[in-house]
């Protein structure tokens, strides 16, 4: 167990578990948190899991943990770890089952005050157009050939079929397509699961949310993103569905034997890994990229359907009802990136699990309009609370492998949340607070109650205090569709 006495305070917002804490640690753990957030985190196994993660072969720098951290399986949620190429490892469990789970933000010029009476209708129509729920299947059933195309092309597949615009792709991490995806490395079962689920939200904590831009903190950055106070925006949170879950499951299974072959000893079997330059590591990387591209296409189809919902509700009544993409960002991903580590530029595989890429101004891969301001970082809050739009900074490049937080982060188990909160009462309370809610199940709604999460404002103030992100705008929810 890690206790607060084991931590070295670096600053008000940064703490370290030194490498000497446990013999098998290869690098220290750096935690972005206030003392108050740390004390909350001590109630679960997040830090123990971060220490376990610090034993992965080939790590460089620190294992980092964001202020929205919470206990996961193997690797903590909110964790970031970079392994050096070519011999460092890649670990599927350090990326997660929902490969390229992420958030997309679209902005409109619709004045909330003019349409607030329509939020119930909008939630109903969004719910209708965007299939959700357990095992939900979409309107499209991909043929085997089409699935392979989605694997290779990601959002570009959607563009070719009229589900996307060039600007959507321009405003997506990696333009919505990772190079090096190889469907040949994806199992028949994953393919079978992927074929019917494209364009679906799923269940759990996935959602579509309409927000109003409540406050702008950085007018220049907000203008570059098309965000204006009082206007409606839309967030989509989901990932690669059963396709990604199966790919991760397959490789966690396969790597159980790989660690023995490569003589890798780990404190938790969920952290199994393989060297990046091994056939096993290369196969997972190629399959993971298929799932990442599937997830980009999935959010693209949901965005297309959300646009249809906006058209149905607002066309002819509002002048500029269109939704323009601000950004789409992954928070469960393994990426090959170049970073400066101890003064040395090196190619690393950055594992982000429940952590968002947060590249600073001037970083490669950002579109021209975001070069000056830095990459948009999307931080959805818990249901009924604020969400934030931030941007990456130079400090994030230097101190967190260009990463920041991804949300509020749970503090309460789903079981406890269901015991404390009644879904129908929560829905009534949210509706009374002016938030229209459509949910697949009242139990599922209760599990996602705001009480089950940390205060997103406190999480954001921590990354701002640590200077790994900068505030752009705060969003307030007005309609939610829950999977």
């Amino acid at each position: 167990m890690v206790s607060i006495q084991d931590l070295v305070r670096i600053s008000e917002f940064e703490w370290e578990i030194p490498r000497t804490f446990r013999k098998d640690m290869r690098v220290p753990v750096r935690i972005f948190a206030t003392r108050r957030l740390l004390e909350k985190v001590m109630q679960d196994k997040s830090l123990e899991q971060a220490v376990n993660a610090a034993t992965l072969p080939g790590l460089v720098g620190h294992v980092l943990v964001m202020p929205d951290m919470h206990q996961g399986y193997g690797f903590p949620i909110g964790g970031v770890a970079a392994t050096r190429l070519p011999e460092g490892v890649i670990s599927p469990g350090a990326i997660g089952y929902d490969i390229n789970c992420g958030v997309r933000l679209l902005a409109s010029q619709i004045d909330y005050d003019e349409v607030k009476h329509q939020m119930g209708d909008l939630a109903t129509v969004l719910d209708h157009y965007c299939p959700s729920g357990v095992g939900g299947k979409g309107e499209i059933r991909l043929s085997p050939v089409e699935l392979e195309q989605v694997c290779r092309e990601g959002s570009r597949w959607a563009l070719k079929r009229g589900y996307a615009t060039e600007m959507d792709l321009r405003h997506t991490e990696e333009s919505g397509r990772l190079d090096g995806a190889d469907p040949g490395k994806v199992s028949p079962r994953a393919r079978e699961r992927g074929q019917p689920q494209l364009g679906t939200l799923g269940a759990g904590n996935h959602f579509i949310e309409v927000d109003l831009v409540e406050q702008v903190f950085d007018p220049q950055a907000a203008q570059a993103m098309g965000l204006q106070e009082g206007k409606l925006v839309l967030q989509i949170h989901c990932g690669s569905r059963g396709f990604g879950h199966q790919i991760c499951t397959d490789y966690v299974q396969e790597f159980q034997a790989a660690v023995k072959r490569y003589g890798i000893h780990l404190p938790d079997r969920e952290l199994v890994c393989a060297p990046l330059n091994s056939p096993e590591g290369q196969s997972y990387l190629a399959a993971m990229r298929c799932a990442a591209n599937y997830a980009f296409a999935n959010r693209q189809l949901l965005a297309h359907n959300a646009r249809k919902a906006f058209e149905q509700v607002f066309a002819g009544k509002q002048k500029n009802w269109q939704l323009e993409q601000v950004y789409d960002i992954a928070h469960n991903m393994g990426k090959i990136e170049t970073h400066l580590v101890n003064g040395e530029e090196m190619k690393v595989c950055v594992h982000r699990k429940g952590a968002t890429r947060a590249f600073g101004p001037g970083s490669p891969g950002l579109p021209e309009e975001y070069q000056k301001i830095g990459q948009p970082v999307l931080v959805p809050g818990s249901m009924g609370t604020a969400s934030w739009v931030l941007v990456g900074t130079q400090a994030s490049m230097e101190r967190s492998f260009g990463s920041s937080c991804h949300g509020a982060g749970r503090v309460m188990s789903r079981e406890k949340a269901k015991k404390q909160v009644r879904g129908d009462k929560l829905r009534q309370d949210l509706e009374a607070a002016g938030i229209a809610v459509r949910a697949g199940s009242m139990g599922g709604l209760a599990e996602e109650a705001p009480q089950a999460y940390k205060d997103v404002d406190e999480v954001v103030e921590t990354v701002i205090g640590a200077q790994i992100a900068r505030k752009v705008a705060r969003l307030r929810p007005v309609a939610v569709v829950k999977g």
């Binding site: 919470h70 469990g93 188990s413 789903r414």
Partner: protein
């Protein structure tokens, strides 16, 4: 239409059972049984209960499952993964488990029916801290599910 919610069996047969353990984000299940066959069955029943799964009892269906694993933990993960897959693929869940084991080689005849309702989606069965332990009362294991 008759339906039946799969419920906790611990009070009926104390040697076998499962219970949910507090976990911040995902689901953790503690499962116990006198032997590995019982552990597999209880784990499946516990997983169904966590999902809030209800069966339609219109027409029973059978499936045969053959698996081979390196150890007890891998067998649990693979077996539960197969059980989850039947839900997604065929909308099918089981309430009768006839399991035979030869080491970690499994042959099972599963009888069940169509799923009428399921509240929650389990993304995956994880290996997180997974260890089948021999205790004075039989086998125990804690399983974490990604949800």
């Amino acid at each position: 239409m008759e339906s039946s919610r799969l419920i906790i069996h611990t009070m009926i047969v104390p040697a076998y059972g499962y219970r949910e353990i507090e976990h911040t984000a995902d689901w953790e299940l503690e499962v116990w049984a006198p032997d590995l066959i019982g552990l597999l069955e209880q784990a499946a029943r516990g997983m169904y209960a966590l999902s809030g799964l209800c069966l339609e009892r219109l027409q029973s269906q059978q499936r045969v499952l053959k698996l081979n694993a390196e150890d007890a933990e891998s067998l649990l993960v693979v077996f539960l993964g197969e059980i989850l897959h039947f839900i997604e693929l065929d909308n099918l869940a089981f309430d009768e488990f006839q399991i035979e084991l030869d080491g970690y080689k499994l042959h099972a005849r599963l009888t069940g029916s169509q799923v009428q309702n399921i509240d929650k989606e389990i993304k995956a069965v994880t290996y997180h801290n997974l260890l089948v332990r021999q205790t004075g009362h039989g086998l125990h294991v804690n399983i974490v599910f990604d949800v």
